[in-house]
Amino acid sequence: MNGAINFTYGFSHGVEWGWPIAVYLLLAGISGGALIVALLVRFYKKQQVDTPLLKAASLVSFVTIAFGMVFLVGDLEKPLYFWKILIHYNFSSVMSIGVMAISIYIPLTLVMCLYLFEKEISVILAKKSKLVGYFAMVMSILTRFRPLVEVLSVVFAVVICAYTGFLISVLVRFPILNTAILPALFVVSGLSAGTASAGMVASWFFKEDAHSSDMKTLHVIEWPIMAVEIMLIAMLFVSLLVGNEFQQTTTVAFQSGVYANLFWFGVMGLGFGLPLVLNFALGKHVAHSQMAFYLSGMASVLGVLCLRMFIIYAGQTFGV
């Protein structure tokens, strides 16, 4: 571009942010997505009782974000210094903002779990009669804020999904990452993986009937979410294809090599193709089977993992 003089050598070698970050991005997406879907279903249907779906979603969102933090912190070369982020706050850093959002979001998911597993926890604590008294007291206070906590949970769940997109979309050196579509794509793919995870956990652990009203709802919203996801990926590709010379060179990532395989077999085949085939191509008998339900749920989650891996690896491989 600056024809007179230029250098192409770089001091970083290849992909600096590797698979632990991709897994973290997946887990954060599942966490946020599951909670958003379950709570929106609750608001929309004006549910008052604690449904298996909401139970599953609360549990999934807490566990996945907690594991996500393990991957995130574990990827640091000095994980024991993590607290430095909390004392030297940098408001211009998406990572700092994300850590702030997470430190609000994790307690929210924990409180959601407390609401939904109040009975179970009481039963366990009943063996130590003193604790159960304290717990009942805490819960009686917390329960008053439940409507507020639910709304805040949805808001922060969206923030968590979106921030993971902004985290890497600010990296100007990498055309695949440096796009406005990325945060939106991360929210939508998070919804897709979150819906699948919450559905599977609800049915496996909380014995939700496969034909219950909530499961039918999940089954209905699953496809539009997938359609939007495919559309956003297509937009990302087209924006690179019609972009400047650097953006154009990155479209190779979709066309050949190991990342193209990851994209076409993992993201497209496993994530979108397999669920579509299982649910629509093999007849009603297969579509309604338990096996198809779990298989297609796992395929969507793995597909979103492949998407995160593709974005992280291909993104950092094709730099300016």
């Binding site: 571009m1 600056n2 007179a4 003089i5 230029n6 250098f7 192409t8 050598y9 770089g10 001091f11 970083s12 600096e16 942010w17 990827d75 640091l76 070369e77 000095k78 994980p79 210094y81 993590f82 430095k84 982020i85 030297h88 940098n90 211009s92 850093s93 998406v94 990572m95 700092s96 850590v99 600010v170 990296l171 100007v172 050196r173 990498f174 950092q316 730099g319 300016v320």
Partner: protein
């Protein structure tokens, strides 16, 4: 550079008036341009003079205790294979951006702008080695030091030679005077005198980070 040029033109116009008016005008200028008081350190790499001896690299690694196999400064051979006799070398190092993405993204403020000198530098003790700055730098000139486990960049020898009042190690080491270091905000500095008479460019300016390194490219007549 463009600004420097304008200021000079402005001062020349004032110089046509009386001496008192000129000095009054000058003090107004220094008040208006707040940056004037603070230094803005920059460096020139003159490609016409560099022979690719890599003495600068060696000196940098020694003075700043850069571990084996890592560099803060690298001299890249960009000679066109079609014209192997026309050597072209380019300095690869931190461009000391005025709008530095590395500083903006660092969650622990380990990567920061030194308050006194305005130089982008590091506090290794605060670095959590998240590598956010490494991926955020548009020039790909940051790395995690194997020994300190902290991110690092060329900081004009801020903690070593600069602290002792010496020129950066690379500048000292260059026998061919291809490197010039100085304060771009100081009208009288040698670096500004050179910039006033020679054409220079910034590396990849389209990233919009306002790098402080200036390159004087080889331009052959008739190219």
């Amino acid at each position: 550079m463009e600004n420097d040029g304008k200021r000079r033109a402005f001062l020349k116009v004032l110089g046509l008036g009386s001496v008192t008016l000129g000095t009054a005008g000058y003090s107004v200028v220094s008040e208006a341009g707040k940056t004037e008081k603070k230094p803005h350190y920059g460096m020139i790499f003159d490609q016409n003079k560099c022979v690719g001896c890599t003495d600068c690299e060696v000196a940098c690694r020694k003075v700043n205790a850069v571990p084996e196999g890592q560099v803060r400064l690298y001299v890249e051979n960009k000679t066109d294979p079609e014209t192997p006799m026309e050597k072209r070398y380019v300095r690869v190092s931190c461009q000391q951006c005025e709008d530095a993405p590395c500083v903006a993204v660092c969650p622990s403020k380990a990567c920061h702008r030194d308050a006194k000198t305005g130089i982008v530098t590091m506090n290794p003790d605060d670095c959590i080695a998240c590598k956010y700055c490494v991926v955020a730098c548009p020039y790909d000139v940051r790395f995690i030091n194997h020994k300190t486990k902290a991110a690092e960049n060329c900081n004009f020898c801020l903690n070593t030679n600069f602290a002792k009042g010496k020129e950066p190690a690379c500048v000292e080491a260059c026998k061919y005077k291809a490197l010039v270091f100085g304060d771009l905000n100081d009208e009288a500095s040698y670096i500004n005198q050179i910039l006033h008479v020679k054409d220079s460019v910034r590396m990849k300016p389209t990233f919009g980070t306002k790098p402080s390194l200036r390159y004087i490219p080889v331009v052959k007549a008739g190219v």
